[in-house]
């Protein structure tokens, strides 16, 4: 048994899970008109004895409580859904283990299953290059990393979902979608070429859409699903262009061959900025999937889906696919950067860099998104929205790292972020669960003692994301900050440090508003607050442990004196470029690194301190409200999320789609219609001639025959008088005639 032979089996289990769960769900619901029957509320069940109407825009537990319905096959779904992912996780770890034994992590293992697109060659396509795409999986350091945490965190969230979604009538539908998501995500991660990756990419997009709109009977959920889908399509357009560009440049779309070619002869492929264009196109795709400016708008709305979905898809795994893809194509971005450096020389301006260096575009977009989203997170009162903006912001960090060509730092943040952000989301789910569907933090407070497990795990994860030394987020965030400084992007570094402070502030604001002070909800809610079942707190604790410890995989060299393990692990997937194209290594002094680290820690602690100072006391909103009112219009602008949604609505939806639609209609009616109209006029003219011929000659012949017959026989019709006696007379006359004739001739 080797790694390549078991690699294709990893996505198979979730696929089977999807089919079985989906089939059972359809079977049990087909006679009920496909609805989530039994119709009515999806309450939490027995533990909420009396109904209280939780009509926030919450998704979980909205509607009345206290009615417990039997969900068909719920036990089967509860076993098959998580089991499929756990099996997949075990096989994934076995594959990683075997791969490590076979190659010590230095080489990629590729498992080719079948030839997917044997399109062959055609002289008119791309100069006769043959396009052959294999359905192949690739296991190397990068995919092994993604594989490990995607399957592991995925399995935890499946287990959590059993508790969280246990009373939802759509239980089976939920698990079939979630399994389909795992299948798609694993295809994305394992794909050995851009087309396979794209299949997974679209698959996770579909599952994201399905799960955001999981409560489709609510308009906002259905709309959010559509928004996510449409925004992602815009990104995908860029991605597809990138794939075409890759094929046009390299004649293949297989990662191994493309990167080897680009690394061996960078000058050939970078010439004329071709590779930069490809990189930017691919990054547009990444912007859509990973919610970067300007395509981030769908992610906050995606919180309409069930909370475990937010944790799995919209925080830990799917949204990091863009970062993964950029890191996967690191050779391209490095070549693009070096080409820009060579082309622009020493006096490179920001504008020059933006138009020549794809990696700089990535860094700028990432840094801007990080700060922009963080400021929006400051003013949100919906617990999940805070986390959503936080996710957008952290994704910006990851892109900032990749843009500074520190791909291992970017991926390290992907890795650590998956743990603490999944923990935060699941913790918020636990809070929402405890409060029967309440998501508004202004109606929470004082929950620390009531749900201690949730509190402690969320607190740990918050410390991690805030960048408190010793926890996972600290190491990864610090790596990105140090690399950004090292790459010479000082302004971006300053923005990122500011973002770190804001992150610490809004995360502690969340903790203070949710868990400290006095409870601000209804007495009814307070009476029913309960800690979540073990199937939910278990995953929380495991993720919290991850949030503490996974950071130690990437301790920077200057602290221990040893090579950064994480960097060394990813080294094989960041191959060296040809001579003359290697960037000069910018070694920083230990003092600089210490100062950088110290400054980010100081800013984080300042953020925490401010948050605690702001949100304390029995009525924790006095000081924040004073600050907000003194800021006036600016505060309202931030609270309204900079009115970006309204801007898009005005420019793209109303402006382009509606007015532009009118314009297109005019062009269509006046210019394009000339073609069909002209051809129709020609047809009418020709048919006139043909009809004249038809009427004159063809009809003339037919009518002539008829007219002749008519005249000839007009007289004869008089004989047929209809009177019997006339006929009898004729007959008698005839007989008489014949008899006379007989007598005469005899």
């Amino acid at each position: 048994m080797n790694a390549a032979s078991i690699l294709p089996w990893i996505p198979v289990f979730p696929l089977i899970g999807f089919l079985v769960n989906g089939f059972l769900y359809l079977v049990s619901h087909s006679k009920l008109g496909g609805k989530d029957a039994p119709k009515g509320p999806h309450g939490h069940g027995d533990d909420h004895a009396s109904g209280h109407a939780a009509e926030t825009h919450d998704t979980h537990g909205a509607g009345g409580h206290g009615e417990h319905h039997e969900i068909p096959f719920s036990a089967v779904h509860a076993v098959i859904g998580p089991a499929a992912t756990i099996l997949s996780c075990l096989v994934a770890f076995a594959a990683i283990f075997l791969w490590w034994g076979e190659t010590r992590g230095h080489e990629a293992v590729v498992a080719t299953m079948w030839t997917w697109l044997p399109l062959g060659s055609n002289p008119t396509w791309f100069g006769g290059k043959a396009l052959v795409v294999d359905a192949a999986f690739r296991l190397d350091a990068l995919s092994a990393l993604m594989l490990a945490f995607v399957t592991f965190v995925g399995a935890l969230i499946h287990v959590y979902s059993v508790g969280y979604m246990g009373h939802d009538p759509g239980f089976g539908r939920y698990f079939s979608y979630l399994n389909l998501f795992m299948f798609s995500m694993l295809t994305l991660v394992l794909g050995a070429g851009l087309p396979i990756l794209f299949v997974g990419w679209e698959g996770v997009g579909l599952c994201s859409y399905l799960l955001i709109g999981f409560y489709w009977e609510k308009d906002f959920a259905a709309d959010a699903g559509k928004k996510a889908f449409v925004v992602n399509r815009i990104g995908d357009f860029g991605f597809v262009l990138g794939i075409f560009g890759c094929f046009a440049l390299f004649g293949t779309t297989d990662f191994g061959s493309m990167f080897a070619m680009a690394a061996a002869d960078p000058a050939k492929y970078a010439a004329g900025g071709m590779l930069t264009a490809v990189c930017v196109a691919l990054f547009v795709g990444a912007c859509g999937k990973s919610a970067q400016i300007p395509l981030y708008v769908w992610l906050p709305d995606a919180m309409a889906g069930p909370t475990p979905v937010s944790a799995l898809i919209h925080a830990a795994t799917m949204v990091t696919a863009g970062v993964y893809m950029v890191a996967r194509c690191n050779v391209f971005y490095r070549v693009s950067h070096e080409w820009a450096m060579k082309t622009l020389g020493e006096g490179a301006t920001v504008w020059g860099l933006l138009t020549h260096d794809a990696s700089f575009v990535v860094a700028v977009v990432g840094g801007a998104t990080a700060l922009f989203a963080a400021t929006m997170g400051l003013t949100q009162t919906d617990i999940k929205k805070v986390l959503a903006y936080s996710t957008v912001s952290q994704l910006g960090y990851m892109f900032l790292g990749c843009g500074a060509l520190a791909f291992s730092a970017g991926m390290f943040h992907v890795f650590t972020h998956a743990w603490f952000k999944a923990c935060l989301f699941l913790g918020s789910g636990s809070v929402i669960h405890a409060l029967g569907g309440e998501q508004d933090m202004t109606k929470m407070g004082g929950l620390r003692k009531l749900i201690p497990h949730t509190f402690v795990t969320m607190f740990i994860a918050t410390l991690a994301i805030a960048g408190v030394p010793g926890l996972a987020g600290f190491f990864s965030k610090d790596a990105i900050l140090a690399e950004t400084w090292g790459a010479g992007y000082k302004v971006l570094w300053a923005l990122a440090v500011l973002t770190a402070g804001i992150t610490a502030f809004y995360m502690f604001r969340l903790i203070r508003m949710t868990f400290y002070g006095t409870f601000r909800g209804t007495p009814e809610q307070l009476r029913h607050v309960h800690e979540s079942p073990a199937s939910m707190t278990g995953p929380l604790w495991i993720l919290a442990a991850g949030a503490v410890f996974v950071g130690y995989l990437g301790i920077p060299k200057f602290l221990l004196g040893e090579e950064n393990f994480f960097e060394r692990f990813l080294e094989p997937v960041i191959p060296a470029l040809a001579a003359g194209w290697r960037p000069e290594v910018h070694e920083m002094t230990h003092a600089t690194e210490f100062i950088l680290m110290g400054s980010s820690v100081l800013v984080a602690l300042l953020g925490i301190f401010l948050a605690v100072a702001f949100y304390s006391g029995s009525y924790p909103f006095a000081l924040p409200e004073r600050v907000a009112s003194s800021l006036g219009g600016f505060y309202r602008l931030v609270r309204d999320k900079y009115r970006i949604d309204e801007l898009y609505e005005a420019v793209f939806v109303n402006g382009l789609v509606k007015k532009g639609g009118r314009l297109l209609w005019e062009i269509d009616a006046r210019v394009l219609d000339l073609i069909p109209n002209g051809s129709s006029s020609l047809t009418v003219g020709l048919s006139r001639v043909s009809s004249w011929f038809d009427r004159t000659f063809v009809d003339g012949a037919v009518n002539g025959v008829a007219a002749t017959l008519e005249t000839a026989w007009r007289g004869m019709r008089r004989v047929q008088s209809g009177r019997t006696q006339n006929y009898a007379l004729t007959m008698a006359a005839g007989v008489f005639g014949f008899v006379c004739l007989y007598l005469l001739l005899r």
Binding site: V719, Q720, G722, T724, Q725, A728, A732
Partner: protein, 100 residues
């Protein structure tokens, strides 16, 4: 002595009267009676020659013809009654639907 010629002459007269009646009368009942006359002219002929030739076949045929005439009269009367119900008339001129 009445010879066969007399019978044939009478028969011819009856036939002529019958044909004339069929051709000129407008009343269907009269036409039907005229047909009976024609048939009886034929009967007379048959019997006359049967007697002349001493062959009973002619008389046999006559019995058949009388039977046939009875059936013909029955059907003819039925048609006339139907026609009367339809047209409220038994005039032959009223029935000319097959006019071309």
């Amino acid at each position: 002595m009445i010879s066969v010629t007399h019978y044939v002459a009478l028969s011819f007269l009856l036939f002529a009267i019958g044909v004339t009646g069929v051709l000129i009368r407008r009343n269907l009942l009269t036409v039907l009676m005229s047909i009976e006359l024609i048939l009886n002219a034929a009967n007379l002929n048959l019997i006359a020659f049967s007697r002349q030739l001493g062959d009973l076949n002619g008389q046999l045929f006559t019995v058949f013809v009388i039977t046939l005439a009875a059936g013909e009269a029955a059907i003819g009367l039925a048609i006339i009654i139907s026609l009367y119900r339809l047209k409220n008339s038994v005039n032959l001129d009223a029935v000319s639907e097959l006019k071309g």
